[in-house]
Symmetry: C2
Subunit: 196 residues, 2 copies
C-alpha cells in the first residue's frame, strides 16, 4: 500500500467515524446523511463537513466572524409565525434573515477522482465549487449551491421590516430551500451513476 | 516548447487581448483592471472573466437564469435616491436588490502554480474558491468574495419595502461593497508579494 493510499484511508476513516457519531447522537444534518453515506461507500471518496442548506437568523454584534452568532437555525422550510416570534425576542446587534445553500466537502484519492467530482458537479448544474486543497492522498473538493437570501431585518431592538414583507421573505426563502434540496437530489443521482 | 506551454500561451494571449479590448472600449470593470494587469504580467498566470463586485437590481420573470435581467447594475457604492428612483420605474417580475462580491478567474500553467494561487487566496482571507478545471496548460482557479446581500424588494408593480428599510439596505450594501474592495486590495498585495 502506498503512502498516499494509507493517508487517504486514515483521513477517510476519521471522517466516517465522525459522521457515524454525529448520526448516533442525533447531531447530523439528516437531509444530507444519505448523500454522505453514499459518497463514503465509494472506494476513492469520502465526505467531511457538509450541510444541506439552512435558513437562519444570524446576529452580528460588530465586524468579523467572531462577533456573529446564531439566533435561530433551521435545516428545513420555516413558517412565518416561528420566524416573527423569534425576531421579537431580545437580541443583540443586527439580525440578518438568511437562506444559505448546501455546502459539501468531498475527499478524493487522486487528481482524476477529484476531476470526476467536478464533472459530476457540472452535470448536476451546480455552479460553484472547486478543488480547495491538494495533498498526496488528500484532495478536497468543495461544492456550494447558489440559492441565497440575506436581509437585514432588525437593528438593535428595532425590527426594520413589516410583517407583510417578512411573509414574502419567508416565502422566497422556502422556495429557494426547495430548489436547493432539488439540486442536492440531482447531484445524488449523478453520484450514483457517475462515481465508482 | 512543450504542447502544454503552447496551449497556455495561446489561451493567455487570447484573454489578454480580450481585456485590452475591453479597456480600450471602456467596457472593463475599472476597479479590477489593475489586479488583472498585475496577474497577466506574471509569466505563468493570466486572468479571464473577472468582476470587482456589484450592486444590482435584478429582475426575475420566472424560474431559471434565462428569465433574469439586469434592471440596474453598479460597480461602486450607490445612493438611496438612485436606487429608489430606479425601483419606481416600470419593471417586470420580481425585483431583487443584490450586492454580489468579486469573482476572479485565474489561469495557471502548472498544478503547483494553481496551488500557489490557493495559498495566496487563503492568506488574503478569501474563504470561497478553488480549482474549477484542470487541463494540460489550462488550469483555472476561481476566487469569490463572501460579502453578499439578496433582498426581494418589488413584486410585479408593488414595491414591498419601506423607504426607511431601503435606506438601511443601501447602507449595508455600501458597507459590504467597501469590505469587498478592501479584501480585493489585500489580495492584490498578496499577489504582488507571492506570485512570480
Amino acid at each position: 500500500m502506498s503512502e498516499k493510499t494509507t493517508r487517504f484511508d486514515m483521513v477517510k476513516a476519521r471522517h466516517k467515524r465522525r459522521l457515524d457519531d454525529a448520526i448516533k447522537n442525533g447531531e447530523a444534518d439528516e437531509l444530507i446523511c444519505g448523500l454522505c453515506k453514499l459518497i463514503n461507500s465509494k472506494k476513492n471518496f469520502f465526505t467531511s463537513s457538509s450541510c444541506s442548506g439552512r435558513i437562519i437568523l444570524l446576529g452580528i454584534k460588530g465586524t468579523g466572524k467572531k462577533n456573529a452568532y446564531f439566533h435561530r437555525k433551521w435545516h428545513s422550510k420555516v413558517n412565518f409565525a416561528e420566524v416573527w416570534s423569534a425576531l421579537s425576542e431580545k437580541t443583540k446587534g443586527t439580525i440578518w434573515f438568511k437562506m444559505e445553500s448546501f455546502i459539501i466537502h468531498i475527499g478524493a484519492l487522486n487528481k482524476n477522482d477529484a476531476l470526476k467530482v467536478l464533472e459530476i458537479k457540472n452535470k448536476a448544474g451546480i455552479k460553484r465549487g472547486g478543488i480547495i486543497s491538494m495533498k498526496p492522498g488528500k484532495i478536497i473538493v468543495e461544492l456550494i449551491g447558489t440559492e441565497d437570501i440575506a436581509i437585514p431585518v432588525k437593528v438593535g431592538s428595532k425590527i426594520i421590516v413589516s410583517e407583510s414583507f417578512m411573509h414574502e421573505a419567508v416565502n422566497q426563502a422556502n422556495k429557494k430551500m426547495e430548489e436547493n434540496l432539488k439540486r442536492l437530489k440531482v447531484f445524488e443521482s449523478a453520484v450514483k451513476g457517475g462515481l465508482k
